[in-house]
């Protein structure tokens, strides 16, 4: 494996190598073996598993946080004590038919299963089995009560599914470090990028974001409004909400470039995470969705950067 594609696989560096970005070169239909090999390595070759491990720990922690919040109202959510829409009603509304509800003991087993599987996944014990349990639980909790399921539920199902079917970890004989195929990393990275880009395009072409200057201003006034949002509504001039609206839209539309180009990635992380923190502060309960989205950024930090940060932290602590 070529060392320059390890861990990160910067698209720009690879495309420069391939001659795609140079004006005087036309990429031949039959690319050279070296270029093809670099792309294959970038997409599916073995890479340092550290960024994926960090992502997995954070992602599963966010899932446990979300499940912990939901299970606090388990009677309404998962048993017949709550009011539930019927199969016919949900189907008429365009939703799939729901899964069977549980008894009190069933809820206890489900909660214990999610807790153990989450812990096992975080500790990397029986990873494949833990992922299977987490995937099954994510499918069930999304499907059992669609009135308590949101986009974040769909992403838990999708990401656990991707992690489940893609190649697992292996240990490098020389360094003892975990290695993994870049496949899962690339697909999950692409999921985040496409999520932002689709959202930006939808806001632009199907939504009102270019038609009106007060889209964000009117959004923040409604049922999501926290005390912090109320305070900002009182003290900020309305034009500042317009500025935030345009900044959000610009970030979503530029996300593919900001997240793919190595030199711009720090800006993407800074803006992206700030955006989700602001969402969590200004909109009630969006902290769960924001936390989930922030975990994706762990995949855009390289293993070297993690090790450098960890080394610096250790030196600071002494």
């Amino acid at each position: 494996m070529s060392s320059n594609t390890e861990c990160d696989g910067d698209v720009v560096r690879l495309t420069e190598e391939a001659g795609i970005l140079t004006t005087d070169t036309i990429l031949p239909l039959e690319a050279s073996p070296r270029v093809t090999s670099n792309w294959v390595e970038f997409l599916v070759g073995d890479t340092d598993a550290l960024p994926l491990r960090v992502f997995e720990i954070l992602f599963t922690s966010s899932y446990l946080l979300w499940m912990g919040r939901c299970v606090m109202t388990w009677q309404e959510w998962l048993t017949g004590s709550g009011f539930h829409l019927t199969d016919t009603e949900l189907t008429a509304m365009g939703y799939p038919a729901p899964f069977e509800l549980l008894s009190g003991w069933g809820v206890l087993w489900l909660a214990a299963g999610i807790g153990f599987a989450g812990l096992a996944h975080i500790r990397n014990w029986g990873r494949r089995l833990a992922l299977l349990a987490l995937f099954a639980s994510a499918v069930y909790v999304q499907g059992v009560d669609l009135m308590a399921a949101f986009s974040l539920n769909k992403l838990y199902v999708a990401i656990y599914g991707i992690l489940l079917i893609t190649p697992g970890f292996s240990r490098d004989a020389g360094t003892g470090r975990l290695r993994v195929s870049a496949l899962a990393v690339r697909v999950i990275q692409a999921t985040l990028i496409l999520q932002y880009f689709a959202s930006g395009l939808a806001k632009t072409f199907r939504g009102d974001w270019l038609k009106y200057s007060d889209v964000l201003y009117t959004q923040v006034q409604g049922v999501y409004r926290t005390d912090a949002a109320a305070w900002l509504l009182r003290v900020l001039p309305v034009s500042s909400w317009t500025g935030m609206q345009w900044m959000t839209l610009l970030f979503e539309l530029e996300a593919p470039v900001l997240l793919c180009v190595r030199k711009l990635r720090f800006i993407a992380l800074l803006i992206g995470i700030s955006l989700h923190v602001m969402n969590a502060l200004l909109m009630k309960d969006l902290i769960f969705f924001s936390a989930q989205m922030c975990t994706f950024y762990a995949l855009f930090i390289t293993a070297e950067e993690y090790r450098w940060a960890w080394g610096s932290l250790k030196r600071l602590v002494g």
């Binding site: 309404e76 959510w77 709550g82 308590a148 409604g222 949002a229």
Partner: protein, 230 residues
């Protein structure tokens, strides 16, 4: 390596491309198994539109021997929160509202509400009627644009600027809910409330004003926001 590339291709076709398309367009171009198609619509579905107004679903009950209607605290009936200051029950009412099944769902819900209230407050007399209503809060009014604090889910029932709009009313008798024949709309107050002037930057060209949302029948001429797909 070939098997990894094949898997990448499969994930591209079954996940990334449809996920992007559904995020962009709101749904997949072809009908597939509902549970699967539902899975793709995670991006680009929320916060797309300007919120001209915010709606709030309300449940009121009448007890045996009482004339007045009492507003119920939905967080007591339905402790599970949806996103924002809304409960799971609010989402059910909101998402079914305006659909052909709305009346049947409310009828079933009326029985459940009466039973639930009886469980929660056994000493306060039997519920003899349940009614469902809504209020619509205009954006850019002082209540919403200059709020004292977070969204208050249990706002007064008869605020002059946001009248209670009756959706359905049911008499409860022996565990059954019977629709009360003709819904009577609660008369809105005629008192005009001062509304904060719209800043010039937000003044809209009338020709480009958004059309009322067809998915709800609650308001007349306004587009209440009921986004839950967070």
């Amino acid at each position: 390596m070939n098997s990894r590339l094949s898997l990448l291709l499969i994930l591209l076709v079954v996940w990334l491309v449809p996920f992007f398309y559904a995020g962009l367009m709101g749904q997949l171009p072809v009908g597939i198994y509902p549970r699967l198609s539902h899975q793709y619509t995670a991006a680009g579905l929320f916060f797309l539109k300007r919120s001209e107004a915010w709606s709030q679903m309300l449940i009121q009950v009448q007890r045996n021997g009482m004339v007045e209607w009492k507003m119920l605290d939905t967080s007591e009936l339905s402790p599970m929160g949806a996103f924002g200051y809304r409960q799971r029950l609010d989402r059910i009412l909101q998402e079914t509202n305006g659909k052909s099944l709305a009346e049947a769902v409310r009828q079933r819900l009326a029985v459940w509400v009466a039973e639930r209230v009886k469980q929660l407050h056994p000493d306060q007399g039997a519920v003899v009627s349940v009614r469902f209503g809504a209020k619509v809060w205009q954006a850019n009014t002082p209540e919403l644009a200059q709020p004292a604090g977070h969204w208050v889910p249990d706002l007064p029932a008869d605020s002059p600027t946001t009248p209670f709009i009756l959706l359905s009313s049911f008499a409860i008798n022996q565990g059954m809910a019977q629709p009360i024949a003709k819904p009577v709309h609660v008369k809105p107050s005629t008192t005009k409330q001062p509304v904060s002037p719209i800043p010039p930057v937000f003044r809209r060209n009338p020709s480009s004003a958004p059309k009322p949302n067809s998915s709800t029948s609650v308001p007349s001429g306004v587009t209440p926001n009921h986004q839950f797909k967070t």
